[in-house]
C-alpha cells in the first residue's frame, strides 16, 4: 500500500492532538505558518483549525483537534476527536501526531496510549524537553519509543527546536506506514470485546475494529453504539451484559481503561525517566502561594485587570481617534468627487465609508485585548484568574473563565465574544456569549451622554448625573447573572461539565505566539464581521435613502421658504433670492430640512411611523422609533440619526441637539402639545439601549462562534428584554414624577 500512497501524490492529512497546555497551538503555528483556516465543526460549536504545509514536496493538511486528556467523551464536543480520527468528519488521517508534555509525561502518555490502540500510524512529539534539566529530570527517548512502539521526537515548539526532525519523522511515517503493534489487553476485556462483537453481528451491523468496540465498552456515551443502529433504550442493557467479564475480573468498566493504561505507563516511566537532582518547592508553587492567595492574590488580580483596561483605553483611544478622523477626511475628500451622482455619492460616503469605518475603529481595542489575553494565557495566569473568580460565576452556570470575556465586553462585545474561546466547557461558553452583549460597551456611551446631559444634569446636577452614568454601566451586569441562571436552568439542554482545570506551570510567553494571537483575533474580526457589516450598512443606507422623489425636496423647500419668511417678517421671494445668492445659513438650514424630510419619507422612516404604537408604552415618538430602527446595525448611530431627524448637526456634544430634544413636543394623540422628552422618556431610551442587541458586528461574531440559532436567540431575548425594561421604566417613572 505504501508504494501506492507515494505514487499517488495525493495530499496527506495529519491529525494533531494533545492535552490542553501542551503547546499544541504553538506547534500548529510552527508547522503551518500563515496558511491556516479557522472554522466550526458542523453540528457542534467547536473551533476547528486546519493548516497547510509541505513535507518533502507533498501537500499536507494539518487538522488541529481540540485539546483533550482522553478520547472518552463527556460532551458532544469531545466526541469530535474520535470521529475525526475515524475519518467520519474529515478525510481519514494518514498520520496522527500526539503532542506530549515531557514535564507531565505520565498524564500525557494516557492519550498517546489510547491513540496507539486505534492502530493508526502515530508519532509522539515530546514537547518542553528544554525544561527537563531545570526540573531535574531526564528522559530516555529511545527506550520510550521502543516501549510505546511509535517514533518519539523531542522538540521545543516555542523555540522552534526539533521541528525539522518532526517533519522528517512525519515524512518517513507517511512513506512507510508501519501499523503499530496491537496493545495487550487483559483477558477479561478481550472477552467483553468478543461478547460485544457477537451481539452487534447478531443484530446484523457492519463489522467494527476492536479498538472501537473497546471505546464503546469503556464509556457510557451511546453515540458510537447509536451509529451502528443500536436503539438508545437498548444500549444500557446491552452494555451491562457485555461488560460482565470486566466486572467479574473486579474492575469498574468505566475505570478499566485507565487502570490498564496507567499500569503500563507507570512501568514505562520507571524505565525511562530518571531524576537527576531532587525537586524542592517548585518555582510555580512559590509564585502561586502569592498569586492565588485569598487576599494578595485577589488584590493583584484586581490591579492587573485595572492596568489592562486602563491601557486598552489609553493606548487605543489615540489610534481610534486617528481612524475616525481618517474615515471622516476620506469621506469629505470623496464627497465632491462624486458630486455628479448624488445617489452614488451618498452610498459611498454615508453607507460604505461610514459603515466600514465604524467597524475598523474597534480594531485597536481588539488587538490590545488579544495581546493581553495571549500574555495571560501563555504565562499560565489566565487559569489562575478562573480559579480566583469561579465562585462569583459558578452559581449561575458560568465558570471562572467567564470573567475575562465579560470584562472585555465592557470595551466592546466583539472581542468579548471572541475571548470566550478560552472557555472549554461548551455550556459555560455559550452562556457567556449570550450575556456578553449586556455589558455596557463603549458604543452606548454617546447615548448616555446625550440623554443624561439633556435631562438629568440640568435638573439634578452633576453628582446625580455621574451616578446615573455609573448605574447605566452596571445595570446590564445586574440583569446578566440572573439571566444566565435562568438560561442555564430552562433553556440550555447541554450537560454541564465538571469544572476541572489544570493550573499549568508558569512559563515565559514567546513574542511570536503573542503577535500571532493578536493577528488571528484582529483578522478574524476584520474579514468576517467586516464583510457582513459592509452589506448591512449598505442595506440600512438604502432603507433610509429610498424612495427619493424630487417632490419631497420641492415641498420641503416651499415649506421652508414660507416658514422662514413668516419668521423673519419678509416675503418668500426675498428668501428665495437670498437662497439663490448662496446665503450659507439659509442653505444649510434648507439642506437639513430636506435631509430630515427624506428620512421621514424613506422606507425605514415609514416603518418607524408604522410601528411607533409598539414603542408608545415606552414613551417613544415616531422620531425616536426611526432612530431605534436605524441603530440596529450599530447603536451609536442613534445620535446622528436623531440629529438628522431633528434637522440639526449630528454631534452628541452639540448643545443644539439637546435643546431640540428638550423642545420637541407630541404633534397629535393623547399627549399633543406636551414635551416628548421627559425624565421618564430619557431613562426609558437609555434602558432600551442598555439592553437591546443593536450591534450587527456582535450578532455576526456570535453567529460565527456559537451558531446562527443562538445569534437569533440572543437577538430576540435581548430585544424583548429591552422593550419590557423600557416600558416598565417609562410607566413607573412617569407615574412617580
Amino acid at each position: 500500500m505504501s508504494a501506492a500512497v507515494l505514487s499517488e501524490r495525493r495530499p496527506i492529512t495529519v491529525a494533531l492532538i494533545g492535552n490542553p497546555n501542551t503547546g499544541k497551538t504553538t506547534l500548529f503555528n510552527r508547522l503551518t505558518g500563515m496558511r491556516q483556516r479557522v472554522g466550526n465543526y458542523p453540528g457542534v460549536t467547536v473551533m476547528r483549525k486546519t493548516g497547510h504545509t509541505e513535507i518533502s514536496g507533498r501537500d499536507v493538511t494539518v487538522i488541529d483537534l481540540p485539546g483533550a486528556y482522553s478520547l472518552a467523551a463527556t460532551s458532544p464536543d469531545e466526541r469530535i476527536a474520535i470521529e475525526c480520527l475515524q475519518g467520519w468528519r474529515e478525510n481519514l488521517p494518514d498520520l496522527v501526531v500526539c503532542l506530549v508534555d515531557a514535564t507531565h509525561l505520565r498524564r500525557s502518555l494516557f492519550l498517546a496510549r489510547q491513540l496507539a490502540d486505534l492502530g493508526r500510524p502515530l508519532i509522539v512529539a515530546l514537547n518542553f524537553t528544554d525544561e527537563l534539566r531545570s526540573r531535574g529530570l531526564a528522559i530516555d527517548v529511545e527506550r520510550l519509543s521502543q516501549r510505546l512502539g511509535a517514533p518519539v521526537v523531542p522538540i521545543a515548539a516555542r523555540e522552534g527546536e526539533g521541528i525539522e526532525r518532526l517533519r522528517e519523522a512525519m515524512a518517513a511515517a507517511v512513506g512507510s506506514p508501519a501499523a503499530l503493534e496491537p496493545l495487550q489487553w487483559p483477558e477479561s476485556i478481550d472477552a467483553s470485546v468478543e461478547l460485544l462483537r457477537g451481539e452487534l453481528s447478531r443484530r446484523g451491523g457492519e463489522s467494527v475494529e476492536d479498538a472501537m468496540l473497546r471505546r464503546m465498552l469503556f464509556e457510557d456515551d451511546y453515540s458510537l453504539l447509536g451509529r451502528l443502529g443500536v436503539k438508545h433504550a437498548e444500549c444500557a442493557p446491552l452494555l451491562d451484559h457485555v461488560r460482565r467479564p470486566i466486572r467479574v475480573a473486579g474492575m469498574h468498566p468505566l475505570a478499566a481503561e485507565a487502570l490498564v493504561h496507567y499500569r503500563f505507563i507507570d512501568s514505562v516511566l520507571e524505565e525511562v525517566v530518571s531524576r537527576t537532582h531532587g525537586a524542592g518547592l517548585s518555582r510555580t508553587e512559590r509564585i502561586d502561594r502569592v498569586l492565588t492567595h485569598r487576599t494578595t492574590g485577589l488584590l493583584i488580580f484586581v490591579g492587573i485587570m485595572l492596568l489592562v483596561f486602563q491601557s486598552i483605553y489609553t493606548f487605543a483611544t489615540p489610534v481610534m481617534d486617528g481612524i475616525e478622523n481618517t474615515a471622516g477626511a476620506l469621506r469629505e475628500w470623496v464627497r465632491p468627487l462624486l458630486a455628479g451622482t448624488p445617489m452614488f455619492q451618498s452610498l459611498v460616503c454615508d453607507g460604505v465609508i461610514s459603515g466600514v469605518g465604524g467597524v475598523i475603529v474597534f480594531l485597536p481595542q481588539i488587538f490590545l485585548l488579544f495581546f493581553f489575553i495571549a500574555l495571560m494565557e501563555d504565562t499560565g495566569y489566565l487559569a489562575r484568574t478562573a480559579f480566583l473568580m469561579d465562585r462569583l460565576f459558578g452559581w449561575c452556570g458560568l465558570n471562572g473563565k467567564s470573567f475575562v470575556p465579560l470584562l472585555s465586553s465592557y470595551a466592546c462585545a466583539v472581542p468579548g465574544v471572541l475571548a470566550t474561546r478560552t472557555i472549554e466547557d461548551p455550556k459555560a461558553r455559550l452562556l457567556t456569549v449570550l450575556i456578553a452583549p449586556l455589558m455596557s460597551c463603549s458604543a452606548r456611551l454617546p447615548v448616555y451622554v446625550l440623554m443624561i446631559g439633556a435631562f438629568v444634569q440640568p435638573v439634578y446636577g452633576p453628582t446625580v448625573a455621574a451616578l446615573a452614568l455609573f448605574i447605566m454601566h452596571i445595570v446590564g451586569l445586574v440583569i446578566a447573572l440572573p439571566a444566565a441562571w435562568f438560561f442555564n436552568r430552562k433553556v440550555l439542554k447541554i450537560r454541564s461539565q465538571a469544572f476541572l482545570l489544570e493550573l499549568p506551570p508558569y512559563r515565559m510567553p514567546h513574542p511570536k505566539d503573542v503577535l500571532w494571537r493578536m493577528w488571528e483575533g484582529g483578522s478574524a474580526f476584520l474579514t468576517r464581521a467586516g464583510t457582513v457589516i459592509l452589506a448591512l450598512s449598505v442595506i440600512i443606507w438604502a432603507l433610509l435613502y429610498f424612495p427619493r422623489s424630487p417632490k419631497v425636496a420641492a415641498d420641503t423647500r416651499h415649506e421652508f421658504v414660507t416658514e422662514t419668511a413668516a419668521a423673519q417678517k419678509t416675503t418668500p421671494a426675498a428668501i428665495e433670492s437670498r437662497l439663490a445668492a448662496g446665503d450659507a445659513a439659509l442653505n444649510g438650514g434648507l439642506a437639513h430640512d430636506v435631509a430630515g424630510a427624506y428620512i421621514e419619507q424613506s422606507v425605514l422612516g415609514r416603518a418607524g411611523k408604522a410601528i411607533q404604537p409598539i414603542f408608545a408604552p415606552a414613551g417613544f415618538d415616531w422620531k425616536i422609533t426611526i432612530g431605534v430602527l436605524a441603530s440596529f446595525p450599530a447603536r451609536e448611530v442613534i445620535v446622528s440619526t436623531l440629529g438628522i431627524i431633528y434637522r440639526l448637526g449630528d454631534d452628541a456634544q452639540d448643545d443644539s441637539l439637546r435643546d431640540a430634544l428638550r423642545k420637541a413636543t407630541w404633534h397629535d394623540g393623547p399627549y399633543a402639545g406636551k414635551p416628548v422628552f421627559t425624565l421618564a422618556t430619557a431613562l426609558s431610551v437609555m434602558i432600551f439601549f442598555a439592553f437591546c442587541m443593536q450591534c450587527a458586528s456582535t450578532l455576526t461574531v456570535i453567529a460565527r462562534e456559537v451558531g446562527q440559532r443562538w445569534a437569533v436567540f440572543a437577538f430576540v431575548y435581548l430585544t424583548s428584554l429591552a422593550w419590557i425594561a423600557a416600558v416598565l421604566t417609562y410607566q413607573i417613572v412617569s407615574r412617580i414624577q
Binding site: 486528556y69 482522553s70 472518552a72 463527556t74 507531565h104 509525561l105 505520565r106 498524564r107 494516557f110 457510557d220 469498574h252 468505566l254 475505570a255 485507565a258 487502570l259 496507567y262 505507563i265 510555580t284 508553587e285 502561586d288 502561594r289 492565588t292 492567595h293 485569598r294 487576599t295 492574590g297 485577589l298 487559569a383 478562573a386 480559579f387 480566583l388 469561579d390 465562585r391 462569583l392 459558578g394 471562572g400 450537560r495 461539565q497 465538571a498 469544572f499 476541572l500 482545570l501 489544570e502 493550573l503
Partner: protein
C-alpha cells in the same frame, strides 16, 4: 479500616493536608476526568489552598496541579492520616 486512618472526601481536607485516594465515583463526570489524568485509588494527593471565596480548591495530583469545585471533590473519597499530636 486501619487504626489511625480516617475516610473523608477530598473537600474535607485542610490546606496542606495530604491523603491517599481510596475511591473515586466513576459515574460522576469528574471521576472520568480525574481518572483520565491518572488519579486512581492508591495515588497520593495534597490540598494546596482554597480560592478567596472558599471554593474551588487547588489540589496537587501526581504530576500536576488542578483546581476543582468542592461539589465535585465530594466524589473523591480519601484516606488521610489523623492529625494527631506526635
Amino acid at each position: 479500616m486501619n487504626a489511625g486512618f480516617t475516610l473523608r472526601t477530598l473537600c474535607d481536607l485542610q490546606p496542606g493536608d495530604s491523603a491517599v485516594v481510596e475511591r473515586i465515583d466513576h459515574e460522576a463526570s469528574i471521576g472520568q476526568r480525574l481518572l483520565a489524568m491518572g488519579l486512581m485509588p492508591g495515588c497520593r494527593l495534597r490540598l494546596l489552598s482554597r480560592a478567596p471565596f472558599g471554593d474551588p480548591i487547588r489540589v496537587e495530583l501526581p504530576g500536576c496541579v488542578v483546581c476543582l469545585r468542592k461539589g465535585d471533590a465530594m466524589n473523591v473519597t480519601v484516606q488521610s492520616e489523623c492529625q494527631l499530636p506526635s
